[in-house]
Amino acid sequence: MSRLPADQRHAVQFTLNGKPCSGEAEPRMLLTDFLRHEIGATGTHVGCEHGVCGACTVEIDGKLSRACLTLAVQVDGCAVRTVEGLAPASGRLSILQAAFKRNHALQCGFCTAGILMSLDNFLRENPDPGEQDVRDLLTGHLCRCTGYTPIVRAAMEAAAEMAGDASKEKSDA
């Protein structure tokens, strides 16, 4: 058993987008604040801070999670993935991100980081989704700019493009 006193900062070690990462946090510090203020990874946004809006959605050990409903000390030893981990290289966008850009699936961009994380995770597990499946997933997010239609379109386009890539690989093999 370890007891972490309230008034002290404690070492937290984890991997962030595949790279070892560490910092210090009081027990009460949320993962959102830890990522943004301790690590400087400001891609994860903070919206409602009670799990409703989905802006802070990240992956913890491969599972979608609300960073605002997670304590930094809870991710000690875990693998955390954030929106900063989506682009394949500096200056390049992932297929999903490029589809968002093409389809105007963002306007102010506040909700986008969380929605990209949900869709990235979802499309990996559901390579051939129906539109309703995408809409079901998006119930976990609030976007006040787009009306969701361009987001759904971008997701469906990205799914089709990824499926096309996969079939090309098969035929090349």
Binding site: M1, S2, R3, L4, P5, A6, D7, E26, P27, R28, L30, D33, E49, H50, G51, V52, G54, T57, I60, K63, L64, S65, R66, C68, L69, T70, L71, V73, Q74, S118, F122, D136, L137, T139, G140
Partner: protein, 270 residues
């Protein structure tokens, strides 16, 4: 919107959890998936001095079938139960209701027992537990007890758990009878304005309603003709003592109870 300060205990053994609860009781709270407790902490509706994290205890993360019951440990996440291959066969009502419990992004961390512990009157899992006549397994340093779901819930976000008790598990009687579930919410996955579950019984149907009274309410109905059914559902809807709030009026809630109640009863008693 940040939690007040607390000590954090990362428990490795059950004894440590029970000892900490015995010592600190009402000043301590258990944290499992955190999907109900963390909003309470962030909004400072709860300000415990100590948080006891139980998610490293492998022994609590089990789903077991024993004596006709499905026993779900305190560490079992909602997504894990939903993905359990035997769920549809053993607990068809839970299979219907779980997709309405929060969102993919919260079910991945939130636990079944955590939702029961939180006792939100509009939450789906307390409703299912009551509809099936399940039990809550409580354990403290020096005693263990089981309590029927309907006796466990004591009002809005209030339960009969003592301060030194851990909800070790909940058990659902495996039930293959015909069942149905329906919910109305502003957004799929948000808290229900009204949620109803119906289970066929030997003589009729058991109807459970959430989101209206301050806890799930269960009522047995005999098999009735359509005309009589409207009357008893109307009486039932008024007995739930619905209130107006920002989401819906009391009248709308009664309307949903009458409408959904009748639909579900037709579904389970064709």
């Amino acid at each position: 919107m940040k939690p007040a300060a607390f000590d954090y205990i990362r428990a490795e053994h059950l004894d440590e959890v029970l000892d900490a609860l015995a010592r600190e009781g009402g000043d301590a709270r258990i944290i499992a998936g955190g999907q109900s407790l963390m909003p309470m902490l962030n909004m400072r509706l709860a300000k415990p001095k100590t948080l006891i994290d139980i998610m490293r205890l492998g022994e609590l993360a089990r789903i077991e079938c024993k004596g006709g019951n499905i026993i779900v440990g305190a560490g079992v996440r909602q997504a894990t139960l939903l993905a359990w291959p035997e769920l549809g066969e053993a607990l068809p009502l839970a299979a219907l209701a779980l997709p309405w419990t929060g969102h993919v992004q919260t079910r991945s961390r939130g636990t079944v027992c955590g939702s029961i512990a939180h006792a939100d009157p509009s939450a789906e899992l307390p409703l299912v537990l009551c509809a099936l006549g399940g039990e809550v397994h409580l354990r403290s340093a020096n005693r263990r007890r089981r309590i029927a779901a309907q006796d466990f819930f004591a009002g809005m976000m209030a339960t009969s758990r003592a301060d030194d008790e851990l909800i070790e598990a909940v058990s659902f009687p495996a039930d293959q009878n015909r069942c149905a579930f329906r919910e109305v919410a502003r957004r799929h996955g948000d808290f229900a304005i009204v949620a109803c579950a119906a289970v066929a019984t030997k003589n009729g149907v058991r109807l459970a309603v959430g989101g209206v009274a301050d806890m799930p309410v269960v009522r047995e109905f005999p098999r009735l003709e359509a005309s009589a059914l409207g009357d008893v559902l109307n009486t039932f809807a008024y007995e739930l003592d619905a209130r107006d709030d920002v989401h819906a009026s009391a009248r709308y809630r009664r309307d949903l109870v009458r409408l959904i109640g009748a639909e579900l009863m037709r579904e389970v008693l064709p």
